[in-house]
């Protein structure tokens, strides 16, 4: 009986796995190279806030990230492949985070762990917290949660390994080839009178909305998205603005309608014009 091999037309990677299961070992440079990288991701020992506690649990015996080949936390960015941004990135720390990222050897990956690193989290409306590390460096995997459980971080690592498996050697940005060559360092913000600056321009004012767009995920090109965070909305916060009526700490008029509509606690809030 002839052996019938069905080639699923999904992609090269699936095809290879399928062949392997049937005893045919085929490889490509891509596959071999990706296998090497995905099997020994060395994270940088770098924690910023409470999320770092969960990251330690993820590295230690109970959750044991060694099962996935990423147990070697390195204390130097020069020896690390993966930066787990574990915690609140304050504006004061942001330049150091970018500097460390720039110092990591390529290929390098970023996991944004927790609500804080992803968006500013509970401190988003504060004056001192960067609203998402993706404003400054591209992020491969985002982990939601405050803090995410170690399992969630393991899942993020597995997701990252999956993404590495799909990378094409000739198209990753760090070899200066393809659609998104990256030949220079990511700009490191500097401290200015009103907030973080890049090349002398204010990019993230203290107490204000960021004036730069975030980097998109690798699936979407890892480029600046060009979309500012709600440039058109002027938000009112009752404590700052005497013109806003304050009926109740959670019930102020003049909240941006999008925020009001999204927020279960502020169901009955009207908008500024109303």
């Amino acid at each position: 009986m002839p052996l019938e091999i069905v080639f699923p037309m999904t992609n090269e990677h699936e095809l290879q796995l399928d062949l392997e299961r049937q005893g045919v070992f085929l490889s490509t440079v891509n596959r071999f190279y990706n296998w090497g990288r995905r099997s020994s991701i060395w994270p940088m020992a770098f924690g910023l806030a409470c999320c770092a506690i969960e990251m330690m649990a993820f590295g230690l015996s109970r959750y044991d990230v060694a099962r996935f080949g990423a147990e070697l936390f390195r204390a130097s960015p020069r020896q690390a492949d993966l930066m787990i941004v574990a915690g609140t990135v304050t504006k004061k720390m942001a330049p150091q985070v970018v500097r460390l990222y720039n110092q990591m050897a390529e290929p390098r990956y970023v996991i944004s762990m927790g609500a804080c690193a992803t968006s500013g989290g509970p401190f988003r409306d504060g004056y001192n917290v960067l609203r998402g590390i993706d404003l400054l460096v591209p992020v491969d995997v985002y982990v939601p949660g405050c803090p995410p459980r170690p399992e969630a971080l393991l899942h993020a690592l597995i997701t990252l390994q999956d993404q590495i498996d799909r990378q094409k050697l000739g198209r990753v940005r760090w070899y200066g080839q393809g659609a998104k060559p990256q030949t220079t360092d990511f700009p490191v913000p500097t401290f200015g009178a009103q907030g973080l600056e890049i090349d002398g321009h204010l990019v993230d004012p203290v107490g204000g909305l960021p004036l730069v767009s975030s980097y998109t995920a690798p699936e979407f090109g890892e480029m600046k998205s060009g979309r500012l965070e709600h440039p058109e909305i002027v938000r009112h916060f009752p404590i700052m603005d005497p013109s806003v009526e304050l009926e109740h700490p959670l019930k102020a008029r003049g909240m941006a309608p999008e925020i009001a509509a999204d927020d279960l606690k502020r169901g009955e809030v009207g908008n500024a014009e109303a």
Partner: protein
């Protein structure tokens, strides 16, 4: 364990440091809403001292009463009353409840004598209050920012500090 409550401290200080203790004027902060946590005027029995007598009062607490640990200096911005209230909390190292000294200073001229020369542990607390609220501690040996970067202008914990971009984005509004 020392047992001295706020009212007692007030009495003793009024007796031992004549002129230092001020009468507490109720603040005009907006009345709490009926369903809020604390209806009625907000007043505590803590000792309000004259800013010029602060160092003396603190040393009295430390040297005579033994409250040697200055736990923190909090600043409250009473925007409606146009004043800052500095809250110094002291603890006795043997335990027991803490005691509080309060100082009120005008918002437009926020100056208060520094405790640091007499009490080195106040150093970082005072720098923090300077950094975030712009309180000037006269006589502090090294009054510069501690959390924010040196280049920064403004005092972000003040209630009139703009937030959510209303200073830099949509300034016309």
């Amino acid at each position: 364990m020392p047992r001295l409550d706020a009212a007692e401290l007030r009495e003793r200080m009024a007796r031992d440091l004549p002129g230092a203790v001020l009468e507490v004027v109720p603040l005009q902060v907006a009345a709490a809403p009926p369903h809020g946590p604390q209806p009625g005027a907000f007043m505590t029995s803590d000792t309000l001292v004259a800013p010029s007598r602060l160092v003396e009062a603190a040393c009295y607490l430390r040297d005579l009463l033994g409250y040697a640990y200055l736990s923190d200096i909090a600043v409250v911005d009473y925007l409606a009353d146009d004043l800052f209230e500095l809250v110094y909390r002291f603890y006795h190292v043997e335990g027991g409840e803490g005691l509080t000294l309060k100082v009120r200073i005008p918002r437009d001229h926020p100056e208060v004598p520094s405790l640091t020369p007499a009490w080195p542990g106040a150093n970082f607390h005072e720098r923090e209050a300077f950094d975030l609220y712009g309180i000037v501690f006269v006589g502090h040996p090294f009054l510069r920012r501690i959390y924010m970067w040196d280049e920064f202008e403004g005092f972000p914990m003040r209630k009139d500090f703009p937030k959510q971009g209303d200073k830099y984005i949509g300034a016309d509004e």
